[in-house]
């Protein structure tokens, strides 16, 4: 019996490793060809490069204006996240501690907004912001707060149910204002769900393409947007294009390995709740 189990385990282990290799193969293909000359790529697409060429990376890095593009993505994502994490928690706190009809309606509005696909508001949204002269990165950050608040507020609201109201009352007796209660008592307790909220929003905002493409002008491009323009320009120069793709993926992979536990937990909590 025991022996049978070990063989079963080894078979499963082998299947797992083979699947993992299959899962990684697109990254392998991208990476090896990014290091080839155009000619070598056509002669042998699957093998590693005979002699790695770094020229593609240098050119792609320059064409993507990568430091600037990365900074744009970083600025837009981080400011949006700080606002979403903080403002949604505040609103969720007020709504959960006030059980009036008004709170119910406002909460419903946030939850219902999650049903609306982006394309259904896209045209009026762009027109409105263009009339307000706000088709720029600040306008974009504001839009992300609007689109991100539904799910974020919903998640915070669920977590707040488990924070006893007696804590609020104790703080009140100690003479804390509403703001002090929130900032010193409630917000620290919301940290676990706050991390989930941050992660879910980072994944989405960092990778978003369509909205930035409608909003951002030249010089403000985020990574996906710049990459799309770059790709359109070098559509037949695959080695260069693959180097550009590799450069764009690297920050995400680094982030993943740093925060892996939080990311998987966040994604799991966000979906199941």
């Amino acid at each position: 019996m025991k022996k049978k189990k070990t063989t079963g385990r080894i078979v499963l282990e082998v299947i797992g490793i083979l699947l993992a290799l299959l899962w990684l193969s697109p990254f392998y293909i991208m990476l090896v060809n990014a290091f080839k000359t155009k000619r070598e790529m056509f002669e042998n697409t699957l093998a590693p490069p005979s002699e790695p060429v770094f020229q593609n990376f240098i050119q792609a890095f320059q064409e993507l204006d990568f430091l600037r593009t990365f900074f744009n993505s970083f600025l837009i994502t981080s400011l949006s996240i700080v606002c979403i994490v903080f403002f949604s928690a505040m609103a969720a706190y007020a709504l959960s501690r006030n059980k009036s009809k008004v709170s119910g309606i406002i909460f419903f509005l946030f939850v219902a907004s999650m049903l609306i696909p982006f394309q259904s508001v896209m045209i009026p949204l762009v027109k409105m912001f263009s009339e307000l002269q706000s088709l720029n990165k600040w306008g974009l950050i504001f839009m992300y707060i609007g689109f991100g608040s539904g799910l974020s507020l919903f998640l915070y609201h669920g977590a707040l149910k488990n924070i006893p109201i007696s804590l609020d009352e104790a703080a009140k007796i100690d003479g804390a204002t509403k703001w002090q209660t929130f900032w010193h008592v409630i917000f620290p307790l919301l940290r676990p769900i706050g991390i989930t909220v941050a992660i879910l929003n980072v994944i989405w905002i960092w990778n978003d393409f369509l909205l930035p493409s409608l909003v951002l002008g030249q010089g403000d491009e985020t990574i996906p947007l710049k990459l799309f323009l770059f790709f359109g320009q070098y559509t037949k120069q695959w080695t260069l294009a693959l180097a550009g793709l590799t450069i764009s993926i690297i920050p995400v992979i680094i982030g993943y390995f740093i925060a892996q536990k939080h990311i998987i937990k966040g994604v799991s909590d966000g979906a199941v709740k």
Partner: protein
């Protein structure tokens, strides 16, 4: 906190303002736009035309084709992603040594944007598949993405590869909540793995099936980036899905009213799917 209290409104105001300006007002305004004819020119005022846009949708071959393609695509991807995701979850929750490593790998594509992944796979389908086809003498591998059928399956493969790891995470959460005693008891009774799977594991992760089914379903309906970067809707618009058709109708053809009518129909479809999910989840919770 009282509604009359100013602090209540101070706490709510930032996100409420953003929600109203970014989602609620454009949504209501959009319904009006769907009843007008407008080129998107800022100097021009939309002309009210009643339900004309909705009427022309019924005979718009691009839209009907996109709708049909999206439905087919959604059904196929939902089934495959869930089967693959569940299988991966079973592998990484078993007693193998490499499970943590495997979980990391399977989930990885999910973090990278659909636009980038679509470009990577475009290279694979055009160059690698051609090279493999030449080397192995398999004609089926030639000319991928050049026909509607290979474009369809190309999109399916890309999407499954990207999303299976995400769905795996959801199944893992439910699989890990199964009490060990139950599985041990089944072992004691001499149950085979297949029997355990069918009679113990599957019934207990049933709620995960509902969650995952609808997550993948609405995901498949809303897909845009992958569609744009992998096939660009081609060849000849045959692989264009609803989301992309709306964007093109708006910003390539400059028929905003018609695009908005499509967007309203799109909303209704997505809303029905999501509400069905909420309904089923609530029903399940009551039963539990």
């Amino acid at each position: 906190m009282k509604t009359k209290n100013i602090m209540y409104w101070v706490f709510i105001a930032p996100v409420l303002a953003a929600l109203l300006i970014v989602v609620v007002v454009p949504f209501v305004w959009g319904i009006y736009y769907s009843l007008t004819e407008w080129s998107g020119d800022m100097a021009q005022t939309p002309v009210f035309t009643g339900f004309q846009n909705y009427q022309s949708l019924l005979s718009d071959p691009t839209f009907l084709n996109a709708l049909w393609f999206t439905f087919k695509y959604a059904i196929v991807t939902v089934i495959i992603i869930n089967v693959v995701g569940f299988s991966l979850a079973l592998i990484v929750t078993s007693y193998i040594k490499s499970k943590d490593f495997l979980r990391t790998i399977f989930f990885m594509p999910n973090l990278i944007g659909g636009l980038i992944l679509g470009f990577v796979w475009q290279f694979i389908f055009t160059n690698i598949f051609n090279a493999l086809g030449d080397a192995l003498g398999v004609e089926m591998l030639q000319g991928w993405l050049a026909t509607p059928a290979t474009g369809f399956w190309g999109l399916v493969i890309l999407h499954v590869w990207q999303m299976a790891g995400y769905i795996m995470i959801i199944y893992i959460a439910y699989l890990q909540s199964i009490p060990d005693e139950l599985l041990e008891a089944a072992d004691m009774d001499g149950a085979s793995y297949a029997q355990k799977l069918k009679n113990v594991i599957m019934p207990l992760v049933a709620p995960a099936f509902t969650v995952s089914m609808f997550l993948t379903l609405s995901g498949a309906f809303k897909i845009y980036d992958q569609n744009l970067s992998l096939t660009g809707g081609g060849p000849g618009g045959s692989t264009k899905m609803i989301a992309m058709d709306i964007v093109d109708t708006a910003f390539a053809m400059n028929t905003m009213g018609l695009a908005q009518a499509k967007a309203v129909v799109f909303f209704i479809i997505v809303a029905i799917l999501s509400l069905t999910q909420v309904y089923y989840n609530k029903k399940k919770e009551v039963e539990l």
